[in-house]
Structures are given as C-alpha cells and as structure tokens.
Amino acid sequence: MSETNPSPIQSPTVAPTSVPGASPAAPLLSVEDLRVQFPFSRGSFLSPQRGVIRAVDGLSFDINKGETLALVGESGCGKSTTARAIINLVHPTSGSVRLEGVDITRLGDREMMPYRRVVQMVFQDPFASLNPRMTVGSIIGEPLAVHGLASGKDRKLEVLRLMDLVGLNPRFLNRYPHEFSGGQRQRIGIARALAVQPKLILCDEPVSALDVSIQAQIINLLMDLQQRLGLSYLFIAHDLSVVRHIATRVGVMYLGRLVELGEAESVYSHPTHPYTEALLSAVPVPDPSKAASRQRIRLEGEVPTPDREHVGCSFADRCPLVVDKCRFDRPVHRQISGSEKVHTVACWERG
C-alpha cells in the first residue's frame, strides 16, 4: 500500500481561505479567559444536588502561524473541551475565541461557516469519525461541496490531489472506510480536514488509537504537511513522548486551567510547576538503564472531578509545596526567571 512519497503537487483548484473582518496583524487564534461549564444534577429525584462541572476554567493562549501548540494533561483536564469550544461545537460560558482577530464565540451556525474553513479538526478514532456508507472520494469531497468550493470534475481532481498529498493511493477513490487500516483511515480524516485549506487544524489525540509503527507514519505526515502548507496545529494528546516530538510550545492543563505554558524544549528540560514535574516523571521511558535511575515524583490519589470552584490554585489539594496563599489566591502566569525562552508558570511557590 502506498506511503507518503513527496510527489510534485499541482496547486489546489480551491481559492485560499479568507474570512470577513480578519485583521492580518492579529494572532491566528487567540483564546482569552475561556470558560466552559456544564450544569449537572445528581442525588435522588426528590433532593437533587445541582452544580456545575468547570471543564474549562479560565484559559488563555495564542496560536501563531506555522506553529504547533500541544495541550497535555490527564483525562478530565478539559483539553478536548477546549478544542470543541474553539470550533463552537460546545458554546463557551464566557471568554473569547478570536480567529484572526474576530471573536467567533457568539456566532450562530450560519455565521460560523466561513470560519469553519479556517479551522478544521482531526479526531481520535478513525473508525468512528468516518461515515461507513460513504466512499473515500465522497468523504474527502464533502467539505468541498458543503462550502461550495468545487464541483464536478474539479472536485474529483481536487480529491485526487488531496489523496496524493496524504499518501493515499488515488486508486482507492471508490473504496469504503472499512477496507482501510487504522493508519490509512487517519490519512482519510486528515485529507478531509485539508480539503477546505484551513490554516489551523485541531488534532484531538490523532495517533493514540494507532499501533506504534503506524503512529510514526502519521506523525511524520502531520509534520511534513505543516512544513509544506504552513499549517498551525492545536495538538491534544496524553502521550508526552509524542508531544515532545511534534510540539513547538506545550501547555500543561490541570482541572481546566493551564498551569504551565512554554516552548516545548524548555518545558521538558525545566518543568517548573509541581504538577508538570510529577506528570513528566511518570512517563515510562523505553530504556531500562535509565528507568532505574530516574527521579520520580509520585502524586497521591487521582485528579478530582472539576465540580467545585477553586478560589486559589486548583492543584493545591495534591501539591507537595502547598502554602496557605495557594488555597485563597489564584496564581497568575509569570515568566520563569532566568529562562531566555518564553515559559510561564502559574504557581506561587515556583517561577
């Protein structure tokens, strides 16, 4: 079966993306104080307890052209919800999401359309995210039809170009998703995302369902496409080795908040927040000689459910460095002193 072989790509038949009201000076994506809350009620029918899950609890970051920002953190830290809020699949409770300077959080579905061309998404499960009744050609061609970008012969040519771009043999145009392996399905998902020529792709655990040998193929493809097309990625993953490899910058999330954000190299070599330290030290390294000598910081217990408001630091309850101030004052992001790289941490005791 075919591999990514960089063949000369004819230029796309589709015009480049532009959105109404865009200001070229603004960062590609700018998220400010984003909050997403889900109300819930539990307990018995007669005496329900009501509350809110604070999935995303005051998140701010930018993504610039051509870079990969990775959000890492454990289940329930809000990384996937963040991605969904960025494309308005869930509506933010407060805060703003600006695409090229335009706030899209209050836009309705119809008004969102031009912005959906700028941001696309690649999902974790290539088995669930492709319609089993559609051929590869119609899956990849659908965004072109929906956005009215190409029809008839043009559309078919564009689909073939996209298949070639992601390393799928164009002979498979009329096949169905079940005829492909996991890695190839993920290529189909990537081609579909690329069809509308987005500037930013949100990748939600794009390789975690794949076997190791296939995972490397897809990571290489994503990095190759980024170089060739100048794409930006928001990369969401729990695998910290994959993130180190692909990310320009890394944000570490805990209970809906960013606790540390900085250039990948700097975060990995100088983890500063106590949670980042613990998280990184828990990653198994495929080298028995190193495994024995590594310093490990073991956290007690598990990440709690984000169902109560933290006035202070959300990590205070599990933090080995906790002081009184941490429980009452929410730490703000501060540049780490002594670091030349951009690297901020939200911790009163460190930084």
Partner: protein
C-alpha cells in the same frame, strides 16, 4: 535472581480462528518459560497474537471459532491444554490469575466489590463468610484503597478508572496465585495513575514472589517493569532477550524498527523512522518471513522460509536469517 526450574513452560503453542474465508493462524508456534518471581513482557502490535497466547494459557480461547492446533503448556507437571473445564477452573483464578485492560467490563456491575472479592476466596480457598470478608478488606488495603471496609459495599461504577484497576488487582491476588497475567493493565489509565499501578505491581511482586506475564504494546512500560521480553509479530516470537539486552542491542529488524519509530520522551529528535507498510493479514500471510515485505534488511533467502528462533549468545534469541548470519560469520 531467578530459580532454574520454570514455573510455566509453553511449547510450540498454535492457535487458529475460523473465519468465513479462511483459517486465521493467530499464534504460530510460540514457546517461552516463566520463572518464579520474574516479569516477562509480551510486546507486539494489534494482531501479533500476544493476547490470544494468554487466553490459550488460561483456557479461555472461545471454541469455536477458535481452535488450539498444537503445543503444550506445562504447569506443575501437567499440560494445561489437556485439562477439562472443571480442572481448569481450579487453576484459573486460584494459581493463575488475570487482569484485563478494561476493569469496567471485567467487573460485574451488579455485584458490590466486596461480593466479587469474597466470591473468589470462598470458592477457591473455602473461606467462611466472615473470614472472606476480613481478607477482602485486607486486600483492598494492600492495593492502596483507603476506607476498605466501607468501599467493599460499593459497586464498580462508584470507583474511578485507576481504583477499578486496583480492585481488579486485589481480586487477582486474593488467592495468592503463582502467576499473574496482566493484559494491557495500564493502557486505559493516565500516566500518573499508570505509574502508581506499575509501582504497586512491582511492590506486590517483591513481597509475594508472584510471577507476572505483562502483555503490552508500550515499550516504555516494558522497560519499567519487565525482566525478560518476547517481541511478537504476526503470531510468532521474533526476538527474546532480557530487557537490558533487548533495548540496548535489538537484533530483529522489527524490534529495531519499533524502537526507532518511537518518539522519545527523554531526547528530542527530528524525524521518526516509521516502519513502512502495514502488519500482514493473518489469513493471508506472505510466504517466508512474515516481516519480509516491511523489512529493510530482507534478502532473497527470507522469501523461502520463515526463520525459527535461534540462540545467539546464550541469552538472546532472534528469528531472523540476516541477524543469525551476522553472528555465524
């Protein structure tokens, strides 16, 4: 470190499954030993046969469509593959226990954790109700669940993922088995919880001397916890060595490829060297060595026969003609 008589000895195990089109040979001649007190890692990707191998050890291959085509599993002077269901039941859970990837599907959602823990010990060890209850509480404490007395009355859904996996481990160890088979026990867990569970397994092994077969696709987990490693590909063991040797000096091109294709957490790298192509379709294997179509070192001879494991230097076995030849010369 390990005693010289193996606790379990698997010889030439063959398992196949009947499908509409063909007989799929999932396990094709797997042999290995497990010594008392050691952890053996079984590594491989989806479809490599690592899980089926262990289902066969436990007598849990669904028949039909599954079929044991050959081989022996020696355990305490008997061949486990020849035992009937009743005899197997007295070993399964008692002498050889298993923990699965997804504790939510392995635990009964309608029974409290206490009921499930005591069911085991009452059946296998013949404990009375009170004694079993006391022992169950002890087990929960042992695996690090606090407030054990109270938690025995909880149902599985009241536990978090990491805690459920601890319950599974408590259940598996409650009859003090000689061998614990752990099938991707940490795959569904977050890294900090994974680290806790691996620590727990290591600690319990030291205290009780339990042998562990660790089935995983995660080479990091293998490096953390395994003493010896078997690398499986398309239903066969292609390389067998102690963990230090395997990671420092992998001989089979598949193992080498796996290690090269892994993004490294402890160092930055430019591009990953992916293994080209896909794992083979087990119902339609290529002739000769099944890794040949993806192998960078393949020579003509690889087409003619599927190489057997060969011992290179007493502690490193590899099933690759090219690697074997390099040593011969």
């Amino acid at each position: 470190m390990v005693e010289s008589t193996p606790l379990l000895k698997v010889e030439d195990l063959q398992v196949s499954f009947k499908t509409d089109e063909s007989q799929v040979r999932a396990v094709r001649g797997v042999s290995f030993e497990v010594y008392p007190g050691e952890t053996v890692g079984l590594v491989g990707e989806s479809g490599s046969g690592k899980s089926v191998t262990n289902l066969a050890l436990m007598g849990l291959v669904p028949k039909p469509p599954g079929r044991i085509d050959g081989g022996q599993v020696h355990y305490q002077g008997q061949d486990l593959l020849k035992l009937n269901d009743r005899q197997m039941q007295s070993i399964r859970g008692r002498r050889i226990a298993m923990i699965f990837q997804d504790p939510m599907t392995a635990l009964n959602p309608l029974m409290t954790v206490g009921q499930q823990l005591t069911e085991m010990t009452r059946l296998h060890l013949g404990l009375g109700r009170k004694e079993a209850h006391r022992q169950a509480a002890e087990m929960l404490e042992l695996v690090g669940i606090s407030g054990a007395e109270k938690r025995l009355r909880d149902y599985p859904h009241q536990f978090s993922g990491g805690m459920r996996q601890r319950v599974m481990i408590a259940m598996a160890l409650s009859c003090e088995p000689d061998l614990l088979i752990a099938d991707e026990p940490t795959t569904a867990l977050d890294v900090t919880i994974q680290a806790q569970i691996l620590d727990l397994l290591r600690d319990l092994q030291q205290r009780r001397g339990t042998s562990i077969i660790m089935i995983t696709h995660d080479l990091g987990v293998v490096a953390e916890i395994c003493h010896r490693v078997l690398v499986m590909y398309a239903g066969r063991v292609v390389e067998k060595a102690d963990a230090q040797t395997l990671f420092a000096d992998p001989k089979h091109p598949y193992t080498q490829g796996l290690l090269r294709s892994l993004p490294r957490f402890d160092q930055s790298s430019d591009t990953l060297e992916a293994i080209p192509g896909q794992p083979p379709d087990l119902g339609n294997l290529p002739g000769g060595c099944s890794f040949r179509p993806r192998c960078p070192l393949a020579v003509d001879a690889c087409q003619s026969r599927d190489p057997e494991l060969m011992n290179l230097d007493g502690r490193h076995e590899v099933a690759c003609l090219v690697a074997q030849e390099a040593v011969d010369v």
